[in-house]
Symmetry: D2
Subunit: 371 residues, 4 copies
Amino acid sequence: MKNTFGNHLSVTLFVESHGPAIGIVLDGLAPGIAVNEEIIKEFLAKRRPSSDLDTARVEKDPFQIVSGVFQGKTCGTPLTILIPNEDTRSKDYTYGEARPSHADYAAHKKYHGHEDYRGGGHFSGRLTAAIVAAGGILIPALEAKGIHIGTHIYSCAQIPDRTFDEILRDGLSQSELADILLLLREKTFPVLNEDAGEKMKEKIREASQQNDSVGGITETMITGLPAGVGEPWFDSVESELSHILFSIGGVKGVEFGSGFALADMTGSIGNDALRYKEDGTVYTESNHNGGINGGITNGMPVLFRCAFKPTASIAKEQKSIDFLKKENINYKGKGRHDPAIVRRACPVIDCVAAIAVADLLTGRYGTDYLA
Amino acid sequence: MKNTFGNHLSVTLFVESHGPAIGIVLDGLAPGIAVNEEIIKEFLAKRRPSSDLDTARVEKDPFQIVSGVFQGKTCGTPLTILIPNEDTRSKDYTYGEARPSHADYAAHKKYHGHEDYRGGGHFSGRLTAAIVAAGGILIPALEAKGIHIGTHIYSCAQIPDRTFDEILRDGLSQSELADILLLLREKTFPVLNEDAGEKMKEKIREASQQNDSVGGITETMITGLPAGVGEPWFDSVESELSHILFSIGGVKGVEFGSGFALADMTGSIGNDALRYKEDGTVYTESNHNGGINGGITNGMPVLFRCAFKPTASIAKEQKSIDFLKKENINYKGKGRHDPAIVRRACPVIDCVAAIAVADLLTGRYGTDYLA
Amino acid sequence: MKNTFGNHLSVTLFVESHGPAIGIVLDGLAPGIAVNEEIIKEFLAKRRPSSDLDTARVEKDPFQIVSGVFQGKTCGTPLTILIPNEDTRSKDYTYGEARPSHADYAAHKKYHGHEDYRGGGHFSGRLTAAIVAAGGILIPALEAKGIHIGTHIYSCAQIPDRTFDEILRDGLSQSELADILLLLREKTFPVLNEDAGEKMKEKIREASQQNDSVGGITETMITGLPAGVGEPWFDSVESELSHILFSIGGVKGVEFGSGFALADMTGSIGNDALRYKEDGTVYTESNHNGGINGGITNGMPVLFRCAFKPTASIAKEQKSIDFLKKENINYKGKGRHDPAIVRRACPVIDCVAAIAVADLLTGRYGTDYLA
Amino acid sequence: MKNTFGNHLSVTLFVESHGPAIGIVLDGLAPGIAVNEEIIKEFLAKRRPSSDLDTARVEKDPFQIVSGVFQGKTCGTPLTILIPNEDTRSKDYTYGEARPSHADYAAHKKYHGHEDYRGGGHFSGRLTAAIVAAGGILIPALEAKGIHIGTHIYSCAQIPDRTFDEILRDGLSQSELADILLLLREKTFPVLNEDAGEKMKEKIREASQQNDSVGGITETMITGLPAGVGEPWFDSVESELSHILFSIGGVKGVEFGSGFALADMTGSIGNDALRYKEDGTVYTESNHNGGINGGITNGMPVLFRCAFKPTASIAKEQKSIDFLKKENINYKGKGRHDPAIVRRACPVIDCVAAIAVADLLTGRYGTDYLA
């Protein structure tokens, strides 16, 4: 429903990038989940612009939890996090001049001129700060249940990283996989292969110097999910995850397991052979299905990738329209923007995945599960 | 919610492939929509196996509308379509033997042995017949509002078809595009380039002869959607569509506009330049965003592709498990199955897209909009 | 959502009294619940007209479960029950002549003339047969968990029955209360005091002879609900129950515990004193709050009453309008109707209460709880 | 869903009476609704304790709109209102001592000791301030559409006010009715008969002096709703309204039109005769159905009453338990509380009714309707 996601554990976003504050309400949280403000700060820090690779806009995120926490733990009632907006330069935006590949024109047709256009308003990537703050509560709670989530830059500016698929072929234990995911979450520029990371950064700097931007692909792994979670049809794990992943600005593609590449395989190659381990646990020899069959988890790691388009805001001159003056214009971006959003998207993906997973588990096992 | 999709206009599925009947309830339909049973029959016929390319299982779909229609039109109350199950061979299935890449094992973990395992039960592709019947009501209603939907096989067994992107570059008028989409819906094997289609069929036959299967990618275009439909964040057009698309068995990837390829572009190339036509209408020179910005339609054709994995059921021997006997086995498929589901998936994609679009429009313009 | 109720376990109704069939879909049922068709038959029998007190319309209810049951138990997938319509006399209804206090005129304004007006269409009390059939699955499942539901005619035609409040003052054990509720469900005319019941029947016959009708009040008790179920605010137990109770045609008032009478008390009288029993269980000395505080169960029996208006369909001549001819008319009912619906309402109330309670419990304890 | 209400236009509450702030998010608001902070202040003032009739607790309500408003109008995105908590005396509450007829014990069973027990926490009537602030936006928007809502104290401490039914018998025009409703909203102690009001106040003061409390009944009228709004079955106008009315702390009964009294009538008396006026408009001679037939508005004023139990918090000693020490105690209230909540409930009822009505209208006529 519009700005609320989740059937059992839900989040409601409220936000304009240039309003007094952005915020998020989490409802359906089990009572008794530990809330550590230091971890929330760390999560927010990872999403923040931190180097020459990112926007020059300074984002501090002093947040406040205004409800739902008592004596350091969730109460079971709606938990609300507020993040005041500070450094905003409203003068960077002229209403009527539509930024190409931004929501400006579509929003104008929807809101009839009442939209808060400053800084992208309700569409600003700024709003993901609230999601990341929520993740700072949910991800530690999931980890306490043995469920780990991590995201790396699968490719950026056509430079590929090492892949989770390669790592899975190494036959690592679940705790070894968890360590890799935890390590990724600590990195400022989360890649599996640091050399690839350096090349990506170079490409990003190049794009920035040319007043241009680059896109990229993220890859996410979730380990520790029990088999039997999710629903056939409309609440499939893929449906739930893709629903919230496509909510993030800039995501134009989502694929699970081998995804589009799987469409090119034959059944005899693409099918994942089921096997018993000696200890009686079930696994699949390959994981082309990304841990999901018929919409339901099969106990293997859940794998998905998100395609992020290049940042729409660039300083190069582009053809566009002024929809107030009703004329064609040449548009040149004035704001401060990221030459690549894919780096900062990684913690956001982790956090929306955590929301979807927490919702599925709360529905499956009841309202006290995450405590 | 599980087997219900849609906030304003909703569908509820009920189905097991080997139960007495499958069915669908449509709720929130405007009163006064014409219901033509002949069109529903045509839609069902297109989804049905019809040649050596498909399963040998004979599917007749004698359907019955048991509520919601009065004097040839919708009443505004829930419309229910029932399709009895007939030709089912329960003996083809042995409980415990998990078919690789099927839901058998995951379902066992979810339903604890109570699942109706015959013919895939609730997971069977058979259930899409009910969705297609619903589309036989919604698609004509959308067409009456100037909204057209069509899907072709973008690639199958690595053979590419011509693309919608190429067609859009020809600068066709909206009615010319609508004609192309209507034509596609009439085809038994919906491709834009018949030569490519013949090569695909050859590959499908080859796979079938080798007791194997192939996957494929579908591409869908929706024209005539007004700008300003959809919501930022959780009810984005991409979120709504991907949610229902990933409900269809076998879909492992969804991308909008240029999708994953857009992630490889720079902003200066990937951004869609906005322009005014001489008649005052707004268009974009390219359509890398697939007609959606910030989750909201911009008036350009909505474009998306779905990756279908190869049919999991193949007659080749594969490694698997028997989860009742708790042992590794060699599994050899016994049922009758499609060597490629992508052909039969095209009308299903059209129909689920129609459901999502009808839901968005009903929310935007009210409950009488589609009449 | 319109014809769907429930967040975790949901029901979807589809129905017109004169269409081919009425039906209900239950979704979110735990897998493994026993389904006994004989019990469903008994439930349907109790709702059926059975004597001179009821409509002369013959209602047989041969039902069919078309999905969701396998080997006598729920599969965990949507369970659909169909009840074909048989004895319908469409000629009893003339479109345009609005029956006073019926939905005819309001429906005309909503559906613009497309409504199926025959026999009340979607508004017919006939549709509660589907709800009662669903109750025939849910109520035994709740009983297996120690939760009992029963309803009696609290008053009819101003004749009062004995009350649950009086019975609770006797200090009965929970199993003695359960016995009383089970006994009530077996009665054709469910009252606690048979003498009062005889007087009610007399009044109903009198009304019938005068071509008139009478209203009444039902009272329901639910025992065995654990304390701590329900939510503050919008998913309060009262909110959930009243939502579905007011869905039943003819209900114009709902009160919990002492309800409207509680509004006349002072706090020192109306407050329910909490006490520990010797065995350490908590109870309240009175139960003016009907087992619910702050929207959450407190472990005491849940008590509520529903006010049913007199049957709107009477054979007496009344002032009304013909909204097609746009003129005032004198209307005389032609159909066959109940002089009092309150008797047949009792099993319906039991069943909608079961739906709401099963939904709350499934949300609280997870999807496997009821199995 | 827990703390979110509404299918099309929704509200989400977040609150603890002793946390940093309480708040509400409105989602689905049409863009372009005027937001007047002075009116919101007036609404909050009416709900605030203002005399010796109310709690001695000082409630200032300095609110802040943190999102969703731009240049004095709604943007169409979530509108969030924050009200900081100030005057709170946490020491008035001792955890474990359950206040009789309060949520303390039920909450303990639900939240396992993690609940914020101070001042009733999430259960506090304080939270209705956020609802009233939301009403300060919705009610003027509805009035601009010709829809008026007003509530009076129908009875308090057994003293009856004049009734809406009597007023309707005077045959007033719709604008005369609207004037009465507007006048009621301006009153500090909203009654139709000032003499009755004085007697009520006397009784409230008496109760207060005796360290006791009284209950009461509110009556609400909504005029100007078009016929044809609402749904049969689960989204009936009665279902939607009762759902949100029973969310308000202390409400134990809701009845529409003549409600429980209608259950005592015969059909020939209780049926509302439909008639055409000379100007072609339809009305009913009586309004026992409260403007709703079959769950759908019929164009007559919507009428309902809510039974409020006496304030549970009283300074008299009462029997209760300490659920930490697990022993029976004598409990004596220490906080500052209202001897009667019914006066302050009137604006709250107006505002929740406005939420339900705005939701129904937005669903019926689309997302731009209220602008």
